[in-house]
Each structure stands twice: as structure tokens, then as C-alpha cells.
Amino acid sequence: MTDLFSARHIGTDAAAQSRMLEAVGYGSLDALMAAAVPQAIQFDRSLADSLVPPAATEREALDELRALASANRVSTSYIGLGYYGTLTPAVIKRNVLENPSWYTAYTPYQPEISQGRLEALINFQTMVADLTGLATANASMLDESTAAVEGMLLARRASKSASARFLVDADAFPQTKALLRDRAGAVGIEIVEVVLDSVDHPAGHAHPLLAADGADGAFGVFVQYPGASGRVWNPSSVIDEVHAAGGIAVVAADLLALALITSPGELGADVAVGTSQRFGVPMGFGGPHAGYLAVRAGLERQLPGRLVGVSVDAAGHPAYRLSLQAREQHIRREKATSNICTAQVLLAVMAGMYAVYHGPEGLRRIAGEVNRSARSLAAQLRASGYAIVHPTFFDTIQVRVPGRARGLVEHAHSRGILLQPVDDDTVGIAVDETTTDAALLELARVFDAESRPSGSTDSGPAAHVDADAEREPSIPDSLVRTSEFLTHPVFNTHRSETSMMRYLKRLADADYALDRGMIPLGSCTMKLNAASEMEAVTWREFAGIHPFAPKADVGGYLELIAQLERWLVDVTGYDSVSLQPNAGSQGELAGLLAIRGYHRSRGDEARTVCLIPSSAHGTNAASAVLAGMKVVVVACDELGNVDLDDLRAKIEMHAESLAALMITYPSTHGVYEHEVASICALVHEAGGQVYVDGANLNALLGFARFGDFGGDVSHLNLHKTFCIPHGGGGPGVGPVAAKAHLAPFLPGHTFAQEPSHLLLDGTAVVHAGPQISAAPYGSPSILPISWAYVRMMGLAGLADATAAAVLAANYVAARLAPHYPVLYTGENGLVAHECILDLRGITQSSGVSVDDVAKRLVDYGFHAPTMSFPVAGTLMVEPTESEDLVEIDRFIEAMIGIKAEIDAVAEGEWPADDNPLRNAPHTAQAVVSGEWSHPYDRERAVYPVHSLIRGKYWPPVRRIDQAYGDRNLVCACPPPEAFE
């Protein structure tokens, strides 16, 4: 018998499922699903019609991936532009990137069980703040270009200028300029590209626009440092001018260059953005990598995204946590100033650890070697008679080759070398830490051959250039960095691999990830990230590719992407998919921008109202605002469903201006809404488009399709439904899928190797909508994960997984209903793939809060369910299909045990302010040190269930004081004395 992957992915076998079905009251999975999923939307089609091939075994799928990988060609890239070769320390690759303790963790919302990655992230923040010379950095951004957009939006909020104009350095990376342009349009910002330099203009201004005051000036400027051309120059006079006009200066800086050149903070920048890719994270054809964003003192509370800070726990010990969460999209909704609600945690951890391992002297050495390579190359090329465009540079030089640039780039490519074509007369070369002397020699040969008339003999360049030329500095004296960085002990301790390995192990041990047990977070779909799915991510043929490599080099990637696009089209009922968005929020934004583009293409420029049900995830509203739309909230009824009468009224009220409805299906309440098809029809009749948020697709796959019941566009979360690991809070991939009429408005990209995408009917469409990510295909190096999942499950396996997930949620609901009220159910009393336990009555009668229950679950060896979303005072449980019945039962028993403890508090057996719930979680220290004065015993505190004695997760800190950390914002590594 074949070893079916689906039987490895799905945790419950037939025997377990029949026991669960009995508890739920159905005779079979088919009967359960027929009752749960509304009849009107269930599809009925033969598997033979599907574009998804029948399931492959793990070995077969890996063989196919090997074949796809071998269709890529790993050339030596000198393209640069924000993507560089890097040497990932093997100790980081093995112990972080390939370690489920790091990659299967969730966003650290429960800080007591996330101290390891919170420390790793505060290392990252400290590293970025130190290198950029600014006060506070956040815990990473999606990529450099989106960080630049967030920098621009932050500048508009913080600027004193009333202008809507933002100046952009002509020497910025082209992908960043394009993204700034595309995003600015929707929010009414005017981008003006300007040539900036530090030479005083006759009028005394670095740029005439900066001279103007108020609305005629600019609210900020974006400077690339060093420039895309490689030029190292001093932007401080430009920054001073911007400040004088009340504006904000955003500087995109190369972190490795900052080891040698003066930091943006010291030059006066308010905001710095960039990427940490070259700190040990492979290029991966564009991502994922951790972007960064740092600000000067006074702008901390304007930071988008996640920010790790230091607070104290119940024992007064320092403890890490996410700071300022109240400013996030899910709370501020349409008042949010950014839709960024995640980070690139796994990649930020890698980059931060690269700095921990190398330390300040290591970074200086690496940066020095990179600069030496660039100088050596420049000297060799000058010796061969070439002109170098800019005399000052860090790692990138431009070479004049009048009229011959194209031919030279092609010739180099034929020898496995990628140069950057700048224009007809110029090529760019960016070296990096992987560049060897032999590679430089080979590069010089390419140029040498080019400079000689054909037929002449190739004697080759001199093996060694004049050593004096190499010593000639390429960084102006005035910009040589003199300030210290990475002085904290963590960056000066772990030099041996043994020490580094143990540091990583110690941090991983502090955290609770899927490798310890169930993470029943509702709406997060914490399912298995199978080892075989992860296998290809680090293969050189996928990891070592530059995002702007020529099409001939990336045949394997393009084939994998095309296949995955078609499979996603097939399972969602749409016509075309873009994999460019590198987070769910960005998929939302791309989908809404496609709707905007569609309406405008028809002259419907007034269609700007976006209807959003009150039950929606807050990011929906934030994305709508950033797509230039006006949010109008639609009420929900007492069952949590969209109130049809209110929907009709709102549609009527905004008949002329209706752009779209955003609806989540199944709803954020975890219920299959029966009226969804008629809701979609109402919106269409009024000329609006329907955006179906795919956050809960895991309850639908293989049973119904968004496109069939009325969706025009959706985003999917490959990091939920399609097994990309959460990485402790990123990476994610949020593809956007659309019907044919919206397909031309899906994200485009100037450097897309294949702008044309197949539609379902076999014709092709060019995605030409606004760019959404820095790279043409977003984060391609993790797409093999989702590819492998679909390939190994097949459509039948995907449907089995959906049914198993729905069964698990209904089993939990049925077994816990006698103890905790289940808040919402559908018409047959069934939930979808998650259930909401309503603790509000319990809290009122006992004083025990959702927080208390969540923290007490840690003592029982569990990660808490989702707290207070979508309803305050509740817990939302999503077991997923991957948990087996033993683990699900262990969770149910824990919840029942906790309910008995709550009852004891309610009955007065334990005081409301001193009981095992209020004091949870209990650390080992809390039960062994000093006198035990609590009204329950120590065994009850830490071993509430006997089985924990043989194996228990011990939280390293007690409950963390949230308010203290927000009142006393500290977002860099605390001194070691703080922990004594």
C-alpha cells in the first residue's frame, strides 16, 4: 500500500474520526459536511475535471521538485539593487531556518511563552537601531520597498508641512520608486522624482521644491544611501533643507555599508528603512527577507508593524513583550494608519543572529572585504581603460561601456555572470561577501574580452592589480563611520559555534511552538508544516537566485509558479492568481487596488465606498483606507451574520459610490453564513464588487469555491491553509485571486520575468495593476512548501483535510459546550473549522477573565486559543486537521479542569485575587523559592494534570505587566545587570 501523505498530514484516522462523529451526532464525515456547509454553495464536480493532479507520495513530489530546481540556473549575481549573495552561517541555517522550534511558532501574542523569539527580535531591533544611528527600530517589515512606503506614510503623519508632495531620490532602487509611485496614487500623495546631490545650488537649496513653504513644498524626502548607482554621498544638506521646510527625511540605507559609513541618524535622518537580507538570508528569487524601519526619538509611537519592548513580570523580573499593540489595525480599523499587521520574524531572527555571531568587528571585517573587492575591481577595470561613473562607492560600481551595455550583459550571462544593465551605455556591478578573488578575475576577463576587437588573442588581465590602487579609498573621509555599534554583550559573546548553538537552543527552549503541542489559535490555522514540504526551501537552485535574474535562468521557478497559480485558481473558482503579495494584508490591498483600477478603467471614479461587516478583521478596514476607499460598516445580527436589512439600506444609501463589499467566508465568527450567495448578488446588482477574505479557506477547500458563489476577488493565506509555517510571526504569502475582469489589475512588476499569466480558459492576461511587493513574485523561495502540500494531498486529500478540520472543531464545541457556552453556530447547530467559547458570563460570576484562562493553559502545557477576537471576553479555538485525537482530548480535559478551578473561585473556595488562575503561569522559581502562602498547593500550581510530571513546558517568566511596558517604552536589549 502506498504511504499516503494525507494520512501523515491529517492527525485523526478513521477510528478516531468515528469516535468524534459519535460525540458530534453524525454517522459519517459526508453527513457532517453536508449538514455544515450550506447546500447552495457546495460544489459537485468530478475530480477528473480538476487541474490539481492526483496525490503524489512525498518521494515523488520531491523528485518533481528536484526536476523543477534543476531547470533553474544559479549564475553569479552582481545585480545588487538590494539583493546580494550572502554566507548563511551553517549554525544559523541548521538551528534556526531548518528548526521547527523556530519556524512553527506563532506571533508572540502570548509573551510568557515566547521569550526566546522576543529576545531574538529585540536583538534585531538593537542591531538596526545601532547601525542606523536611530533611537528605535521595529521588529521588521515585509521588504525594503514596502518599508519605504511605510516610511513615506509615517512622514506624512509626522510632518508639519501641509503639502501632499513627497520627493523621491532619482538614484533610488527602481523597484522602490515603482512601489512608492503605485501606492502614493491611492492615498493622494504626489511623488516627484528629483536628482539630489550635496553640491549647493545657486539658489542655496539642495532642491528648488524644498524652498517652497506649506503646500507648495514637500512633506518629506526619500534618499537612497548609498544610491542605486553605488554612489556614496553626504545627504545631510538635503536633510537639513527638508527639516527647515517642516518635512521628514526618510533614508534607505544598506546595513552592511553602515558598518563603514556614517549612519543616517548621525546625518540627521528621521526615519531609516531597508533590508537585512545580506545578513545571512539567501536571495531566494526575491524573498522572504526581513525589511527594517527605524525612527529617531519622538516618533516611536508612529511606528507601523510590530515592536518588541521590555516590561516586568509578576515577580518584578524583566520580560519581553510586544509593545503598543493597541495601535494595531485590528483595533484601530479604519482609523489605522498602516495595514501592516505582521513582520518577517524568522528572517529577522536569522539576520539578528548573523550580527550576534559576527559581532561589530566581524561586520566591519565583512564590509571591509566587500569594499576591498569593489575597489580591486574598479582598479582592474580602470587599468583596462574603462571609466567608472562614481569615484565614491561601497560595494557597487557603474562602468561606462558606450553603446555596448546590452551585448556585454548578454556575453557575461553566457559565462554564468549576471551584470546589472543600467542603460545602453552603462552596466552596474555589485559585489558581496561571497565574491572571491577568482570570481573578480573572471569578471575582469569578461570586460577585457569585450574591450578587445574580435579575433585578437585573449591574454587575460593581470592577475594582480597594483596594490596601491586597491588601497585607494572609495569612501569620502567625511563619511567614514567613527561611532560605535553593537556594543551590547549579546553581540560580543557568541563567537564559537558551540556558544552560538547553545544560545539558539536556550532561546528555542523558552518558547512554545508546534513541536511541543497544539496551538489552537482560532483564525490562525496552526496546522502541520511537514518536513518534506520544507525540504526544498534551502536548495541552492531555489535559494541562490536573484529576483531580477534573466528569464532563461528561472525556468524552474516560473514553471512552479505557473503550476501553483493554476491549482489555486482551480480550488478557489477564480480565473487568475498573483503570488506577489508577501502577506495577507498585502493581498487584501492588492485585491482592493484591483477593484479600484477596474472601476476607474470604466470611468467609475466615484465608486470609493467599501462596505465592511462589523465582524470583519480590523485589517480589512485598514487596507480599504490605504486603497483610497471610504469604509462604511454594515451591522451584524445576534447570530454574528451580516444583517441583510442593514446591508440593503447601506447599499441604497451609497448606490452611486459603492465600490466593494469585503466579507470573510466562513465568517470571522467561524460560521458558514447561509445567505452568502444572496449577499454577493445584492452587491453586484448595485454595481459593486465582492471581495471575499480567504482567511478561513481551511473550512471550505474541496467543498465550495469563492468564485462560484459570487466572489470577484480574494486573498488566500498560504501560511494558513497551504502550510507555509508562521515562522514566529512571518513569513507569509497572501496571493490574490480574481475573476477575469479584474485580472488585468492584479499586481504588475517592471522586472517580472513572465508578465503574462494563463487564465482558466487557456488565454493569457498580463497583470498590470499596481506593484505591491519589492520583488516580482513576492517571496518565491517558500512557494515550494505550498506546491508540495497541494501536490501531495491532491484535491481529494485537501477535501479530507477540510472535513477533518471541521470535525475537530465541532468535536471540541460539542465536548466543551456543557462547560463553556459556544457563542455562534450555523443552522444545524454546527460550527465551521473553529468555535468561540463565551467566557463573559463566567467572568461576570467568578471574576476569572479570558487572560486568566489563557495563562492557566500554559500551566497545563498549552498555547492559548485566540483571545477576545472577534468578540471581547471570548476564546476562539481552531484545532485544525493536523492534531490527533489524543492531543485534542488533552486540550479538552485541560479546559474542563480549568472550568472546575473557575467554579472553585466562584464558590469562594479560593479568593478571586489569589488562585491558580490569577497567578498563572507558574514558573519553577515561583513554586520553589521562599514561603508558599497561596491557598492551593504547589503541585496544583505546576502539575494540575498527572501526565505533566513526565514532561512539562516550564514558562521562563510569570505573567507580564502589559501597561508597565507601554508606559515605559524600552525597545532595545536591556543591560545584563537587569537580569541579575
Binding site: R327, Q962, A963, D966
Partner: protein, 121 residues
């Protein structure tokens, strides 16, 4: 609940002394917001108009808005609550006041009884 002070439907209180109104948030609002961690208040000299958002009150749970209950000019923002936002939780009607405004017009405000009816307490 002190009887001389007046209230707004946005859960703010207003205490008038001559031409200056002292403004804060009610105990009900402070309890609903939870632990207040940060206040963004208008600086002295700022012109404000009734009904508009003039500041932010951030707690660990949410970000609330401060509405101007009157038209006028801010004469003082309470530095003590900006240094120690927990004062708004511990003494919302006393040391936790937020701003003093020299007002030009005073709209109709709620009495303590009317506000109690509004909050159902």
C-alpha cells in the same frame, strides 16, 4: 459623582470656573479603556472647536479619542498625566484631568443624572 460638573455623551466631564473649563474623562470611560498608557494632548495655545478630535487616549486595549466639548483655546495640558498616565485610572475626576480650555462658547452639557441615565448606572 460630583454634582457641579457636567458631562458629554463622549464620556468626558467639564468643570467650569469663570471662562476656563477643565476637561477630563469620566470614571466610566477610564474603566472601559482599562490601563491607560499614553496621552496625546493638545498643547497650550491650540485653538479647538467643539465636537472635533483633539487628542488620543491610549490604553493597553485600545486607542480612544479626546473630543473637544467646547470651542476655545487650550491654556494648559496636564503634564502630570502625560508623565504618569495611570493617574487617569486612579483619579479620573481629580488629578487625572486632561486639559484646561479658555472657552468662547459653552454648548448644552449633561447633568450628572442625565449622564448616569446614559451609562445605565
Amino acid at each position: 459623582m460630583t454634582e457641579e460638573i457636567r458631562y458629554t455623551a463622549e464620556h468626558e466631564w467639564v468643570l467650569v470656573d469663570g471662562s476656563v473649563a477643565t476637561i477630563g474623562i469620566t470614571a466610566y470611560a477610564a474603566a472601559a479603556l482599562g490601563d491607560i498608557v499614553y496621552l496625546d494632548l493638545p498643547a497650550a495655545g491650540t485653538e479647538i472647536s467643539g465636537g472635533t478630535v483633539v487628542g488620543e487616549i491610549e490604553s493597553t486595549k485600545s486607542v480612544g479619542e479626546l473630543f473637544a466639548p467646547v470651542d476655545g483655546t487650550v491654556v494648559e495640558a496636564n503634564q502630570a498625566v502625560q508623565d504618569a498616565p495611570e493617574l487617569v485610572n486612579s483619579d479620573p475626576l481629580g488629578e487625572g484631568w486632561l486639559i484646561k480650555v479658555e472657552f468662547s462658547a459653552l454648548p448644552a452639557l449633561l447633568t450628572a443624572d442625565e449622564y448616569r441615565t446614559l451609562t445605565g448606572e
